[in-house]
Subunit: 233 residues, 2 copies
DNA sequence: AAATAGATATGCCACGTAGTATACTACTGG
DNA sequence: CCAGTAGTATACTACGTGGCATATCTATTT
């Protein structure tokens, strides 16, 4: 088998396979809340919906199980992983550590161009302002955080940050009052870029951890004010 | 679908399905070096070896790909993920952060019984002493680190620590001179338990990070002294 | 050197198997 | 006669097999 100059599936751009499609669609549905936590899904039902055989659906579900977005009950079916307050706490705890580390490393290796790009990304988040939809907020937020994580020059760390970011995004789609945490988020972002420009790793770590804590608080407040189905508090 | 009192597949003890079997066998082969980094594997070949159809093999390979132990090349095949020096550096960097955090949290929540158990685990590592086989060393080491990570009371963090620990174990099986890093490891372990007993989270974090750094250095030294196939330095 | 044919890999599917939960029935005890 | 329970039938579910189609790589031929 010759692989010279070829990339593995994880970095393939044109994911044409049905398995990839099913995975992308189902993951999107889980994250955006179309498939809320706790609901049951079955292979034949999804295969019918997605107009494909059960096999690609099955493989997509298996992948989602590994990532923790779904749970498999052998011989019985699948369920979208329920979310508890403890889970959310744990998630944000790990995310803070990972992103804090990424920011500390990024402070020492980000180029000037990348820092400028970060400024623009933070501004873009600001521009959308008040009536920002959840989707645009999540997308813009992910781009910003991803850029910093990539600045760590540690692909493994970047990948971990991204997967945790996506799980947080799932929570954003549940906490409907995005506006409540938005302005603080923008300020945090700008402050993070500022300390990154100072090349101060420890300051950057602390700024990122504090930002993480702020979003956690805002999200939790929005959630208790607006309880969601499938979330045990 | 009724799930009262039932557990998901991830926590099922009796993994009877062929997919689970194939996954366990292949993962073991990759970690222990029976399948060294860089070698090609194919579904039909493995299906023949494991006396099963291609489907369970395929799902096991997919799972290994998600975990990063294998790479998928669409329409062409699979390959055991090659290991580079950069990858190892990145791995240890992330591992240090994760385990350091776990230790810091564990310092505040480990019970006296659990601390006693940790002492015994550290002693068990010591007893095996000089002529320790790689497998017993890896197993004992994993048990010790797992117990601390579990003390963080953060299942997500524990799971991440374990997966990284297993990837490190894979490197241990390659760096054949386990003896070179063994005594230092035992001392580190005892020191970690000591600071955990002091309930000092920051000390525990630092001790764990230093231990991580020591094993990294020892492993790298053993590797340059004894180059392995499939590892680009 | 370019084109082509063969070999081999995955991607996908239809079908059969086996395990599980539920609904129904029959039986038992009051 | 009724209530409750044990057993059974059925209708789901995932699991696994084998085969076909298609894409890719290699070796050969023009």
């Amino acid at each position: 088998m010759n692989r010279t100059g070829r990339s593995a599936v994880s970095s393939e751009k044109r994911g044409k396979s049905l398995t990839e499609q099913a995975y992308a669609i189902l993951r999107e549905r889980v994250i955006t809340g179309v498939l809320p936590p706790g609901v049951d899904v079955s292979e034949p039902e999804l295969a019918d919906q997605l107009q494909m055989s059960k096999t690609p659906v099955r493989e997509a579900l298996a992948r989602l199980c590994v990532e923790g977005l779904m749970e498999a009950f052998p011989r019985r079916g699948y369920r979208v992983t329920p979310v508890t307050l403890k889970d959310m706490d744990d998630l944000f705890a790990v995310r803070g550590v990972l992103e804090g580390t990424a920011a500390a490393l990024a402070a020492q290796s980000l180029t000037e161009d990348e820092l400028d790009a970060l400024d623009r990304l933070a501004d873009a988040s600001y521009i959308v302002g008040e009536d920002v939809s959840t989707k645009t907020f999540v997308t813009s937020n992910e781009t910003f955080h991803s850029a910093i994580a990539q600045g760590s020059r540690n692909p493994r760390l970047h990948s971990l940050v991204m997967s945790h970011l996506e799980e947080c995004a799932r929570l954003f789609y549940m906490g409907t009052r995005i506006r409540d945490i938005n302005p603080e988020t923008i300020n945090d972002h700008h402050r993070i870029v500022a300390v990154l420009r100072q090349r101060d790793g420890e300051k950057a770590r602390l700024a990122m951890i504090e930002h993480n804590e702020n979003t956690r608080k805002g999200l939790f407040a929005a959630m208790v004010a607006n309880p969601q189905p499938g979330i045990s508090l």
